[in-house]
Point group: C2
């Protein structure tokens, strides 16, 4: 997925994250460094940096904010993994699996504190923190809806879009927003970038839902299938339910093995052209996103090229 | 413990906390309001308000910060209760006990977001958030040490003091500090108030440790005894270990029932005059605290009177 510039950026972020938390209680320092050593794609901080680069030709002023964004994202992963009882993340044991739940709760809290700490020492910290904190609350609310939907039978497409907007898109939009706010970019244009991010974020989440159900666990490097069995309302599942409200229930009852269940769902998706519908929805969201920023005066195309790489990703 | 003014203040805080989170995912709104309806003494927000009142004659400008402090404190309680596996808090079921661990993790995170949100809309938000966030990181580190000490045999008094400074005192000191910062009080004098708070906070924690082991569970309205069995290194336990490093180990091995164990520890404390040593340490810390603020020009005595009430409390 990555060309040379992006790989360099990933490595720089990766290496600088290692310098963030080196003195403190051993249990926190060790866990922090375990989490940030995960093989994440660093999409969110790269969005921050490339937004700055595309608008202002450099990213010096937003670099710390980008690190804060990546730490916030990892905080959400650590806590979500406990809540969803996931045992693998990027091919590595999750924190609560390697240590225990108390350790995972605490390192999440400390990561959040560290990320705000970084922002509070930046220029325009008040604007950065306001944006950052809105995203934090939004992520919590999105996760709450995601959990509520697990036990809710009929989740509509509209409800699903509201949930992923809060759970995923807001953080993506904020990552882009910080790349502009760190340079005191006009609020009106910053808002356009934010709305662009909301659309991209939704497209991104739907692609993730789709890839997760259509790919093998080998490609995704995480334990698959748990989402369906947990009752998670992903976009493909919602479309299956819309087509036949008893289908998922029936096949979960009929088949014992997760791999069989997924295989039946895949077939149902293809037989009913739901894959076409999903691909069209993603395409529409990317177009809608681009429409928000058509009047933005970019100096270069790094941000848009990167978005395009995300769009055509296969894992 | 409370006179009329304090009861009025408690009621006002209690009632205003109820207006903070009323629209959002049902699972979060419901849990938030359950947590903030607990019968807490509201010591921290009262410290913020009385600091302002004593310095400036009113507390209008620090009122929101006081609410944020109380929400932060409750966030730490919700997450700590999971980590310590506590089932009761102020006579009510803890969140993870009434709902489940995912709900308790998530409401904690959301409470934190809400508290920062309140601060970010205040005047001098940059200073307030910096102070607030330092306390947040400190609380996490203190909790990490507290957990590390559970499995550490020889915890020294010095290590204990470092742990409670981070876990308890920092938040108390920050509560006082915000009452000054919200009025843009000179930093040099604010620092004195902060150092006063650190001493008071340590005294407060030692008293809590002592009351917890010496009182019946009826007075404390929480399940007692779990701390000793968890291996928690409270001040009385550290002093027992210092007197006889095998004492605690022996009685835990010998006696099956928690109540018997506590009763033996109580006897050991009294027989060895450890209660006198504890009372003296508390007294010394209050005196040291007062010495930091002897040159502060207070308009009234509300803050010091309140500290005195905390000092002579019996639960």
């Amino acid at each position: 997925m990555m060309n040379k510039t992006l790989t360099t950026l990933q490595k720089k972020i990766h290496s600088d994250l290692k310098n963030i938390y080196n003195s403190g209680p051993t249990s926190l320092v060790e866990t922090f460094n375990y989490v940030i050593s995960g093989k994440g794609k660093r999409i969110r901080p790269i969005l921050t940096l490339l937004t700055s680069k595309s608008l202002f030709g450099n990213y010096e002023k937003s670099y710390n904010a980008a690190l804060a964004v990546e730490i916030l994202h990892n905080f959400t992963l650590v806590h979500d993994d406990i809540m969803d009882n996931d045992s693998l993340r990027h091919g590595k044991k999750t924190v609560h699996e390697k240590w225990d739940i108390p350790t995972a709760i605490l390192i999440g809290d400390a990561m959040l504190a560290k990320s705000i700490n970084i922002l509070s020492e930046s220029k325009y910290s008040d604007k950065l923190i306001k944006s950052f904190n809105s995203a934090l609350l939004s992520v919590c609310e999105g996760q709450a809806l995601d959990k509520e939907f697990e036990i809710k039978q009929n989740v509509t497409e509209k409800e699903y879009f509201m949930m992923i907007e809060k759970k995923t898109s807001y953080l993506i939009a904020m990552s882009i927003e910080l790349g502009a706010l760190a340079y005191d970019y006009p609020l009106k244009d910053t808002k356009k970038l934010f709305n662009f991010g909301l659309c991209i974020g939704k497209a991104f989440q739907i692609q993730d839902d789709f890839l997760e159900i259509m790919s093998s666990s080998k490609i995704m490097k995480k334990s698959l299938n748990s989402d369906v069995l947990l009752g998670k309302k992903t976009y493909p599942i919602i479309l299956c339910n819309k087509k036949d409200k008893n289908f998922i229930k029936k096949i979960i009852k009929k088949h014992k093995k997760a791999e069989q269940i997924i295989s039946k769902i895949r077939k149902f998706i293809i037989d009913n052209d739901l894959d076409v519908k999903i691909t069209n929805t993603v395409e529409k969201l990317y177009k809608e996103g681009i429409s928000h920023i058509k009047k933005i005066d970019f100096k270069s195309n790094e941000l848009l090229n990167f978005i395009n790489k995300i769009k055509i990703r296969e894992k």
